[in-house]
């Protein structure tokens, strides 16, 4: 079943430069899509389009179909309900989306209540379960803390826990592991794979970590300058990239067995 279909999406903020340029692809139920590419190529913007989090009128061309219906057909209220329950997002910089003067627990509770959780006890139970899944063991302290009292990676994990709470049908994960150490990264990758295994969740994973994308995703999209320059099965792209840009990206990956940089041959 097709969960999401993007048809020729173009987007601009200033009417001059296309931030997204004629993007088309579709996502099937239970599929994991990896999106990698240039810094500033429009990856986050793409996820925001799917979630309907962009200013009116900025999409100049194309349409986005979620669960078979065009986003433009849906009412605002319907869209709001959709977010969280059907489609959830892990934001690239969770810290920026959190309210700095409200405790983490309060924000988490608000999120759950907005999506049908009733009762303090039920909320706290859920919060603790989800936080411990992302290795935030000291749940009491985390829920009691203000965002600035947590490290970057701790905030990121709160965002991940929240997004996974409602077992969405589609999970949009924007750099979910960029601020995490590698063992926690492995844990988060595992939890996302479990989400798919247990509930058939489709995932769009945006990441600079090509190792993670290669391991998790069925299909891979490569973005550069607003365009989807390559799209295909992950294995095929990694083993035989078709565009110059993809080759450059793959060649730039630093691996643990590589020669160390010495600055000699420059």
């Amino acid at each position: 079943m097709t969960i999401l279909e993007l048809k020729h999406i173009s987007l601009t903020y200033d009417g001059i430069r296309n931030i997204l340029d004629d993007i088309s692809f579709s996502v099937q139920s239970g599929e994991i899509i990896g999106i990698v590419g240039e810094s500033g190529s429009g990856k986050s913007t793409l996820l925001h389009v799917i979630l309907g989090l962009i200013p009116d009128g900025s999409v100049t061309k194309g349409e986005c179909f979620l669960f078979g219906r065009s986003a433009s057909e849906r009412k605002r209220r319907e869209l709001k309900k959709l977010r969280g329950e059907e489609v959830a997002m892990i934001f690239q910089d969770t810290g920026r989306y959190m309210n700095p003067i409200s405790r983490v627990g309060a924000q988490y509770k608000e999120y759950l209540t907005a999506h049908g959780y009733r009762g303090r006890k039920k909320c706290i139970e859920k919060e603790k379960e989800m936080l411990s899944r992302v290795h935030l063991k000291d749940t009491e302290r985390i829920l009691h803390a203000y965002p600035f009292e947590l490290s970057g990676g701790m905030r990121q994990r709160v965002g991940i826990a929240m997004a996974m709470s409602l077992k969405p049908k589609l999970l949009l994960a924007d750099e979910p592991t960029s601020a995490l150490d590698v063992t926690m990264q492995a844990q988060v990758v595992y939890e996302m794979m479990e989400l798919r295994r247990k509930y058939g969740t489709s995932i769009i994973l945006v990441t600079h970590n090509i190792g993670v994308a290669a391991c998790m995703s069925d299909k891979l999209g490569i973005m550069q300058n607003g365009k989807l320059v390559e799209w295909g099965n992950t294995g095929d792209i990694i083993s035989c990239p078709q565009t110059e840009y993809t080759r450059t990206l793959l060649d730039s990956v630093i691996e643990i067995d590589d020669e160390r940089m010495t600055g000699k041959n420059e």
Binding site: V36, G37, E38, S39, G40, S41, D93, R103, K128, S132, R133, H135, K137, D138, E140, R141, H144, A145, Y146, E149, S151, G152, G153, M154, Q156, R157, S178, A179, L180, D181, V182, T183, M184, Q185, A186, Q187, V189, H208, N209, I210, G211, V212, A214, C215, T234, I238, T248, L249, L250, S252, V253, I254, E255, I256, D258, R260, M261, T262, G263, E266
Partner: protein, 319 residues
Amino acid sequence: MSDALLEVSHLSKSFESGNLEKGMIPAVRDVSFQINRGECLGIVGESGCGKSTLARLITLLTPADSGKIRLNGSEYMHSKDKGREIYRQIQMVFQDPFSVFSPRMQIGTFLEDGLVYYQLLTRRKAAEEAVKLMRMVELPEELLNRFPHQLSGGQLQRVVIARAISIHPSLIILDEATSALDVSVQKQILELLVRLKKEQKLTYLFIGHDLAVVRSISDRIQIMYAGSVVEELRSENLKQAVHPYSRELLDSIFSVRDRHTERIQVKTLSLADAGYEACGCQYRRRCPCAMSVCAEKVPELTKAGQEPGHTAACFLVSR
């Protein structure tokens, strides 16, 4: 005279936990190390283990509870003229370059301000210097008139590094400075850092999560866990790390070349696992090799392996 640029000894910092019953959070505990001139020290470790706090203690953005920090042999934590002089000597680059800029400040002004304030150049001289800096970090000159949102994250990060270097600091602390960048921009920036380090004999403290990246740029690496350094070794020996936490890190790396990652074992922690341990080794509950002594005493850094400069804080090594 020793070649140490920065000497940190027995540095500690606890935060009050918002949740009073839980008491204090020992974010950094009894950390000692030195960085030599022209060297790059890498730090990796668990998320929340105190890396950024350590960086903030060194730059005096957060006051330490105890310990000493020396730069060029002189202690500066309690010196009178700390502020400006320390900021000139120690520059910091963060993960998110956008957080450094005010949105209405042009790139050129951002570069010039540093030069005017710290190097006491005239505006005119500073403007000339800004052009040279852009060339040094391989950015087109015309970006000088742009505003931050008109640059990509990678371009902005290069501007931040250019400014940090323009002030001629003795030490640059890079806290996850390349983790938000695509791999090709990341590589360019790392190459730039390595080149400048050589040309200008710069000294770095490089904090990161990507072990391959940290290994590639650093001369030495420290691995931190729950506020303490648990292992230290030369970068080329990283794969010979012996501390069980270091081993866990090394076993968790996703590789592009070897994408069949079934080998990565995920350990799900039990819910009962609390935050910090009151005594003994902090890692012991996660440790596959924990012994009874690990619950009783705190392991100290002791010589490990055959290579010089390799130490680990683990009873597997010290007995």
